[in-house]
């Protein structure tokens, strides 16, 4: 089956990004397709490469970059990103900034849109 994922909250602060990551992992493991992952609201903070968590903690941005490296389209909403200071220069590789139309395309082009947030 074809899924898209919508993530609405920032990293570390809320568990949403962790839950979404585990969902994506399980879906891939079970042979499903992830059409795309879209970050909106504070979710845009998930992909800043400037984050430097304690060495014994997970690096949430790096994790998304690794998912992106598998060819999964990871899109950060440009309007939400601009007002929050997430620019093309500071996002991790294998992610991109684009418009809300991408969320619509993902939603329409998938069997399920699964939302994680606060």
């Amino acid at each position: 089956m074809k899924f898209s994922i919508l993530i609405l909250e920032g990293p570390y602060h809320h568990e949403a990004g962790d839950s979404a990551y585990r969902f994506v992992e399980a879906a891939l493991r079970k042979g499903h397709e992830i059409r795309g992952i879209f970050f909106y609201h504070d979710g845009v903070y998930n992909v800043t490469k400037l984050m430097e968590p304690p060495s014994d903690d997970r690096n949430i941005a790096k994790r998304w970059s690794e998912i992106g490296a598998k060819g999964i389209d990871i899109v950060v909403c440009i309007a939400a990103a601009k007002r929050r200071g997430i620019t093309p220069e500071i996002i991790v590789p294998n992610t991109r900034i684009s418009g809300l139309g991408q969320l619509l395309e993902m939603a329409v082009d998938s069997d399920r849109l699964v939302t994680f947030g606060d």
Binding site: L100, L103, V108, L113
Partner: protein
């Protein structure tokens, strides 16, 4: 309707109050953008989202944008079916004539049925 031009039924399920958090405002941005595409769009306002539709909002002293008037143009943006949940209004002491738009008032018992008719549910 051919497979290439598949029209999806997309419903915006709004549950948040305005101003205290950005959900209602950024949620409205999504509606306006998606309205530009040719899909079957509808919106439901329940829980605190009915407060976003209250008439007479004046944010000038807050220094933030007043966007409740924008709900009036949703229809022009292709969101023709707009519902508001009766119980949510009642709990907040509101009647539908106090709202900036006049959506169809439905009982909460009808929400699940409407949700089930959709291909995509977006909640902000």
């Amino acid at each position: 309707m051919s497979d290439e031009e598949k029209v999806s039924k997309i419903m915006f399920v709004n549950r948040r109050a305005p101003h205290g958090s950005i959900y209602a405002y950024e949620g409205l941005e999504v509606k306006l953008i998606m309205g530009a595409f040719d899909q079957d769009l509808s919106a439901i306002f329940m829980d605190d989202a009915v407060l976003a539709l209250k008439k007479g909002q004046d944010t000038s002293e807050l220094g933030v944008k007043e966007f409740s008037a924008t709900f009036r143009v949703l229809e022009d943006y292709g969101i023709e079916k707009i519902y508001v949940v009766e119980e949510s209004l009642k709990e907040r002491g509101l009647s539908v004539d106090e709202l900036v738009i006049q959506p169809e008032v439905i009982p909460i018992s009808k929400v699940a049925e409407l949700m089930e008719q959709q291909d995509v549910l977006l909640s902000f």
